[in-house]
Every structure is written in structure tokens, then in C-alpha cells.
């Protein structure tokens, strides 16, 4: 039993890497623009299906899809920014309905192009066993966990050291003051959408490499990313990573100890618990209660 639990914790930890990338994208855009992008999960899904196409049509390893996925998803994300920017009144509420609509469009595009069938990688290189002591995983899981950590560190460096990264943080914390310091908020918002798109592209390729994808999965991913930001609280990168790992572990433990059908309920349970006990998240400072 103990080794089963250890195995579940390990799998959950690895899953947490991609979850963190998705949640960071959602949090970044929300921070910079105060817009919750309900189509964010669909961006991830788009990348996953690009990986599927590269594998099934060209016969390449899904990793080779990363450049194409990054380009296409980033362009889609940037387009989304321009559409959201067109909203004239009541942006906080209207952007929700708008991005929900974009999510519906993307889901149905995926459905039309790739059909409703469940897809998974057939690359044996990706599915090769990777054993650490007693713990088992697929090679792709470990590989993409490593990629996620590298990306998260890069993101942290970018936010704390680079001009644009610091501009994103400045706009997040005080838009007017940032303007007075000579930061163009519009440009900064666009940058946040682009970075979120890049993170989503990597996460999408990762999800395809070790999991199964369906057109309806996008909405589920958005909810998961949201649960993670609730767990983490806004404004903490390590918090998001820990929240993502917690969600991953909670899910894989539920699958091991109960049933795979209850997997989504695990995340919800965690979410409710945090909401009641620590409404500002485990690490966040910002107030979410109204």
C-alpha cells in the first residue's frame, strides 16, 4: 500500500509541472490585464492537437511540434489580446463572456479539424519506462517535468530581471503608477498574452506526450488552472508550482485509492477546502473576497 501511495505521489508531482505552466499563464494575464481568459485551456488543447498532427502526419516525435505549437498558439493568444482590447465597457465582466465565446469557437474548430475521437501519443520513445528506484513513470513525464521547471525558472528570471517582465509586474500592481513611469500598459498586456501563449504551447505538447486528449478537455484545463491559482494565491510563482503539484497529487491519489471517475472531484474538494479555510490561498497576499 505504501509503495502504491508513493507511486501516486510521484506521478502527481510529475503531472504538476504542466499544470503549473497552464496556471501561470492564466495568472499572468489576469495580473496584467485583470482579465480571466476562459479560453486559456483551449490554447493548451490547440498545442496538444498540433503535436498530434506532427506525430500522426509526419511521423515525428511530438517534441518536434514545439516550434510550430509555440508559433501558432502565441499568434492565437496575441489575436485574443486584440479582441479583448476591443471591449469598450465593463471589461471585467464582458471579457469573461467574450473569452468564453472564444473558447467555444476554439473547441469547435478542434472538433471540426480533428474530430471528437480520443487521441494519445503512439511514440514508443515517449512511452518508454523511466524507473527511479521503486518509482515508475514514462520517459515523457520526467522529460516534460524537467522542461516545466526550466521554463518556470526562466519565467521567474524574466519577471524579476528583464525590463518587460518587471513592466508586467508593475502594471499588475498599479496600472496608473506604471503609466507614470513610462510603461505602455497596452504593450505590456500584449507581452503577458504572448508569454502565456508560449507556456500554454509547451504544456499542450506535454499533455499529449503522456496523456489523452479530447476536444472537451480545454474547459477542464481552464478549471484546473483556476483551482491552482486559488490554491496558490495571486503573485507567487513558487506558490503556483506547489499548488499545481498539490492538485496533481490529489488527483493521482484519488485515482489510486478510489476511482478515476472521481479524479476531478479531488481538485474540487481541495478547492472548497482552501476557499473555506484560507480564502486568500496558501501563499497569496491579494484579497479575493469582495
Amino acid at each position: 500500500m505504501t509503495d502504491l501511495i508513493l507511486q501516486a505521489v510521484y506521478s502527481g508531482l510529475l503531472q504538476g509541472g504542466s499544470y503549473a505552466l497552464i496556471a501561470l499563464g492564466l495568472a499572468l494575464v489576469f495580473g496584467a490585464m485583470k482579465v480571466i481568459n476562459l479560453a486559456h485551456g483551449e490554447l493548451v488543447l490547440l498545442a496538444a492537437y498540433i503535436a498530434y498532427t506532427v506525430e500522426s502526419k509526419l511521423g515525428w516525435n511530438p517534441i518536434m511540434a514545439i516550434p510550430a505549437a509555440v508559433i501558432i498558439v502565441t499568434i492565437t493568444s496575441a489575436l485574443l489580446y486584440f479582441v479583448v482590447g476591443k471591449i469598450k465597457t465593463n471589461r471585467e465582466i464582458n471579457s469573461l463572456t467574450l473569452t468564453y465565446g472564444v473558447g467555444v469557437i476554439l473547441t469547435n474548430l478542434v472538433l471540426m479539424i480533428w474530430s471528437a475521437d480520443v487521441r494519445a501519443t503512439s511514440s514508443s520513445w515517449m512511452q518508454e519506462a523511466f524507473v527511479v528506484g521503486e518509482l515508475y513513470s514514462m520517459r515523457s513525464e520526467v522529460l516534460f517535468f524537467g522542461v516545466s521547471i526550466v521554463l518556470i525558472v526562466a519565467l521567474w528570471w524574466w519577471l524579476s530581471r528583464s525590463w518587460y517582465g518587471r513592466a508586467v509586474r508593475a502594471v499588475s500592481s498599479n496600472r496608473d503608477a506604471a503609466k507614470l513611469m513610462g510603461i505602455n500598459p497596452g504593450k505590456t498586456e500584449l507581452v503577458s498574452f504572448i508569454v502565456a501563449g508560449i507556456l500554454a504551447a509547451f504544456a499542450g505538447v506535454a499533455l499529449f506526450s503522456y496523456g489523452v486528449i479530447t476536444p472537451a478537455y480545454g474547459g477542464v484545463l481552464t478549471v484546473k488552472a483556476f483551482i491552482i491559482t486559488v490554491l496558490a494565491g495571486i503573485g507567487s510563482i513558487p506558490g503556483v508550482l506547489i499548488g499545481a503539484v498539490l492538485l496533481g497529487i490529489a488527483e493521482s491519489l484519488t485515482v489510486t485509492l478510489a476511482s478515476s471517475a472521481l479524479q476531478e472531484l479531488a481538485g474540487m474538494g481541495l478547492f472548497l477546502l482552501v476557499l473555506f479555510v484560507m480564502p486568500n490561498g496558501l501563499f497569496g497576499a491579494a484579497r479575493r473576497r469582495g
Binding site: V83, N90, E92, T97, L98, L275, G290
Partner: protein
């Protein structure tokens, strides 16, 4: 009194003319009934959005819970079906009570949390097999009964019932909007803090709006269950029950009472009669497109756009 005459004429038209003219055509009647079902959900969604200031992506939960409540109560406990419809609303209210903690969250967080909540109920319906029949669903749910010799299970009977439900809801919505609470709710749009200072209990009012909205959506869901006689979790909690009503409400104008109803009829009929023929898979893409275009061009709906246009014309004259 001109308006009252108009209202009576409109009521006579929908209650008598529509069944007399279209009643013979089962296909047309089924389209009309379906668009009224969408209209009912759209109305409940718009009530929450307009009066409560909350965008909900979780109305599929209320719809599904209402449907299951009425189906289970009427089949396993022999509850009369018209009572079952009411209980469907009550069931949805109970599920909304579970959502109340979410009200503590601010705008965008509320929207996402309620979206997440909707998933829970779908999973529960799938897993709680002893009551809901699991993913196989419930078949042969009883139809609406025959009362005083009138068969409500016929197409025209179903039409009259859902029409009455929707009209009663519209009337309730109107009463709430005109009441002092409606005034407070509208004031809350401008400043929550200001209304709190003058002694309005914001959270209580918002909670009440959520419950009223859930009740309406639950009753419509219950009606739908007895109308199509079949339920399964993926159908009852489908995202479609959120998407089409949102598009309808935004299209018609969610700040009005007629907007969501008119929007539902237009959006549903166009979707079913034209779009679905052109693109059998993924026809919802057009719904998403309509939503995006409406939010950018005229977030107050076509009626709002029309009014703006009239005002410009007045100003020019």
C-alpha cells in the same frame, strides 16, 4: 392603458394563435418548445446577470439538478408531475445553496468557481448510480399528465405548459425589478460600497438572486426531462445548456426581460434551421462567434443597439 391592450393581444396571440396555426406541425412545434426552453434558461441567466451583477457559467448544474430531481421523484416516489416540476426548482435551489460560499469571491473568481461547481454535479450524477442510473441514464421518464381530460403530453400541451412557465418567470422577474430590492440591486451595479453604507445587505440580496435564478432554471430543466422522457449526465449537464442561453441573452440584451426570450427564439431557430445544415459538426462555432461579435459591437444586445440607433436619429432630427 395602451400597453395593457398590447399585452393582452400578445397573450392571446401566443396562447391561441400559435397552437391553432402551428399546432398541426409537430416539427415546428418542437422547435418552438425547444426555443422556449432555451428562453427560460436565458431569462434565469439574465436575471442573475442583470440584477445580481454575476456572470454564471454554471447554469447547466441547475438545469441538470432540476431535471434529475423531478425525474427521480416522479418515478421512484410517484410524485405528481406538476409538483415534480416545482420540486425540480427546489432541488436546483438546494444545489445553489451549496454554491453560496462562492459569493464571497469577487467578479471573475465567482464566474470561474461556479463553472467549476457545475462539473461536480455532472460527476455526482454519473457516480451516484443507485439514484441516477449512472452514465446509462434514466429512460422512459413519465410525460406530462392528462388533467381534466386535456392531454398535456401532446405537443400543444407541452407548449402551453412551458409558455406559462416562462411567462410567469418573466412576471416574477419584472416584480423583483420594480420592488425596492430591485432598486437596491441596480444601485449595487454602480457602487457596492455605497449601497452597503446606506444599509443594503449586498451579499444577502445577491444570494437571493442566485436562488431565484437557480429555481427558474431548475423548473425548466425538470420540464425538459418530462418533455423528452430521457436523461443522462452528459446531456443534462451539457455545456450547451449554458452556451446557447448566454448567446441568446447577450444577443437579445440581457438587461431587458424580452431580450433573452427574443434572443432565444432567434438564436435557436437560426442555429437549428440554417447553421446546423451547413456545418453538422461544430455548428456551435457560430454561437461563439456571435457571442464575441456581440460583446465587442454591442454588449447591451441588439435591442440596445437599436435604441442607440434611434437616439442618434433623434439627435440628428
Amino acid at each position: 392603458m395602451k400597453i395593457n391592450k398590447l399585452l393582452i393581444a400578445a397573450l392571446l396571440a401566443v396562447y391561441i394563435l400559435v397552437p391553432v396555426l402551428l399546432g398541426g406541425d409537430a416539427y415546428v412545434m418542437s422547435l418552438v418548445i425547444a426555443s422556449l426552453i432555451i428562453g427560460g434558461i436565458a431569462l434565469s441567466w439574465a436575471l442573475l446577470g442583470n440584477l445580481g451583477g454575476m456572470v454564471s457559467f454554471g447554469h447547466a448544474a441547475f438545469f441538470g439538478v432540476g431535471a434529475y430531481t423531478s425525474a427521480v421523484l416522479s418515478m421512484q416516489y410517484g410524485l405528481p408531475i406538476f409538483l415534480g416540476l416545482l420540486m425540480g426548482g427546489v432541488g436546483a435551489v438546494l444545489s445553489a445553496v451549496l454554491m453560496l460560499p462562492v459569493l464571497r469571491l469577487r467578479g471573475p473568481y465567482f464566474a470561474l468557481a461556479i463553472l467549476a461547481y457545475a462539473h461536480i454535479f455532472r460527476i455526482l450524477a454519473t457516480e451516484w448510480e443507485s439514484v441516477t442510473g449512472g452514465s446509462a441514464g434514466i429512460a422512459s421518464i413519465p410525460q406530462l399528465p392528462t388533467v381534466f381530460g386535456y392531454d398535456f403530453a401532446s405537443k400543444t400541451g407541452n407548449y402551453l405548459v412551458i409558455l406559462t412557465i416562462v411567462l410567469v418567470f418573466a412576471w416574477i422577474y419584472d416584480r423583483i425589478r420594480r420592488s425596492p430590492h430591485g432598486l437596491a440591486l441596480r444601485a449595487m451595479h454602480d457602487s457596492e460600497d455605497a449601497t452597503r453604507v446606506v444599509g443594503v445587505n449586498n451579499t444577502l440580496l445577491k444570494a437571493l438572486m442566485l436562488l431565484v435564478s437557480a429555481f427558474m432554471c431548475g423548473v425548466v430543466g425538470a420540464f425538459n426531462a418530462h418533455y423528452i422522457n430521457f436523461l443522462e449526465p452528459d446531456y443534462a449537464f451539457s455545456a450547451l445548456w449554458v452556451t446557447i442561453p448566454i448567446v441568446a441573452a447577450i444577443f437579445g440584451g440581457y438587461r431587458t426581460i424580452t431580450g433573452p426570450l427574443v434572443g432565444a427564439v432567434v438564436v435557436y431557430l437560426v442555429d437549428q434551421l440554417f447553421v446546423k445544415n451547413i456545418m453538422p459538426t461544430g455548428h456551435q462555432l457560430v454561437l461563439g462567434l456571435v457571442l464575441v461579435v456581440m460583446i465587442i459591437a454591442s454588449p447591451d444586445g441588439l435591442l440596445g443597439l437599436f435604441r442607440k440607433f434611434m437616439r442618434k436619429k433623434d439627435a440628428a432630427a
